[in-house]
Amino acid sequence: MSRIAVVVVMLLASTFARSELLIKVTEGRVDAVPIAVVPFAGSQGAPEDVSAIVAADLHRSGQFKPLPAEDMLSRPSKQSEVIYRDFRVLGMEYIVAGSMKAQETGGYEITYALYDVSSEVKLLEETYRPPVSQLRDVAHAISDRIYEQLTGIPGAFSTKILYVTHNRGAANPFQLQYADADGHRVTTILRSREPIMSPAWSPDGRKVTYVSFEDRGLPAIYVHELATTKREKVSSFKGINGAPDWSPDGQKLALTLSRDGNPEIYMLDINTKALTRLTNHYGIDTEPRWLPDGENLVFTSSRSGGPQIYKLNINDKSVRRVSFQGAYNARPDVTPDGRYLVYVHRRNGNFNVGVQDLQRGTFNIVTRTDMDESPSVAPNGSMVIYGTQDRGTGVLEAVSIDGRVKVELPSKEGEVREPAWSPFL
């Protein structure tokens, strides 16, 4: 009887998922931690299965290997029902068990706890009372708490991904969208006949900036407030207006302009519109990214021939080359601790994502796809999401900084490109 119910829930889930990004872990860690996320009592028939979302989140991190529900010998919902032996024989290290109860006010009460199988100790217990519209938010919040409790690193399941889609036949082929980090709840924030490029988040996650060619096919940089949909065109100089990146203090954009004849890095004060030119070289300078200190940028420059990564101090404008392996290194991003650079690296004609450890000086290629682009680091520094091609179509994939976990996010409609991982929201 319960098995039939599970099948029905899965079918429902797959119909809901149709317009959303699907996520598939293609490579997990061999030492992923076995965990049993027991289906919460009362989750059947609920508008969202919170325990299933938690299990999927933990699975997608690659750090955990959730036990399939049908393999569970018992299904506790509270501490008094937990039989540790039932999970120990299956090799489980942790148990998540809980319940969700519909409230008369319309929302749900969700209670769960995290148990350590070897010490038979409760590590964590929480209760939430969300309205139906926030069930997914609560599920991701629970995933964040469990992830942090067990790894010591804050979870990034409650974050969002901003990206550009392209549907060639559509009246407005270009769309700017964002979705939950698990690909659900897609929101379209801009549709256009002309290209949309280089989306980036404000540090508080309330605004985004991007390049749009909507005005007579010419590029301009916009600042767009998500809650109000209010937009401001902040840069529309002659030539290139490109590659905006928001400063950590939220006051400035780094951007690329060719208004003086050649692509150079500038800094734009968003409030006063004061513009400061930071580079001066006849080569191409573009793709700036702020380092967490707010005093330095990394960017792509062709000043030594092909594109390489350079570091730029915004105060004294000194420039120093950072990448040395190979003839093509471009579009850097940086981890929140400033330790790792991720960027696009060409090797044997393939474009891959590489990770450079600025402390130890090592460089590793962490993807095996081709045509990789636009790597963007999660706010907890654990994963990098990037654009690549799957059978000729643009798709998103994610990889852990150490390259050991790989996740595919195949799109059902059209191309998906230029992902930008939000800050903690």
């Binding site: 060639r168 290209p195 490029m197 280089s198 060619f213 096919g217 010419l218 590029p219 030539g239 290139i240 490109g242 590659a243 690329t256 060719s258 692509p263 191409i284 573009t286 793709e287 792509t300 062709s302 594109p307 093509y328 471009a330 579009r331 696009v344 060409r346 474009f351 045509m371 682009e373 636009s374 091609q389 000729g392 230029e418």
Partner: protein, 189 residues
Amino acid sequence: MRSFLNPLFALMLAAALAACSSTPTEEDTSATDTTEPTEVAPVTPVEPTAPAKPDTSSIPMTADNFYNHPSNYDGTTNTKVIYFAFDSNTVPAAAFETLRAHATYLKNNANAKVRLEGHADERGTREYNVALSERRSKAVEKFLRVQGVSASQIEVVSYGEEKPAAFGHSEMDWAKNRRVELNYTAGRP
């Protein structure tokens, strides 16, 4: 693959040489021509035919020579796309006549305005490709300016890889996408 260029240039050179030798020289008539003509042979004037455009259909088109292939350029303002070699912003020689035709048109029509839209193939990062494609449109702009076109008649915009002309992922698709399109925004020829 690169060797395909050589037969192409050889053919063009041969065509140029053939054009030169069509004018007879003094030496052609001298040595064996000893007998005096006794009578004047009847002469029929030949209707001069317009000089035919060189037939380039036999030159194989490859992804490597696509940018400089004569069949891509008709020497008039009807041709509105200039192609480029991989990682290059050099205007191809085969496009010179076409661009001169555009320059002449723009000089003779002061109200005409052209937008030079630069494009790159999909390899590499997007904003870097925007910068690369700007170099292509600027190379075309420079060519037109050297011919005497006013700067006020030219606008440059760079799309990088965002607006491909060919949607596949082969070398030939990429060759078709490395391009500058001449888009008249006023006074279209």
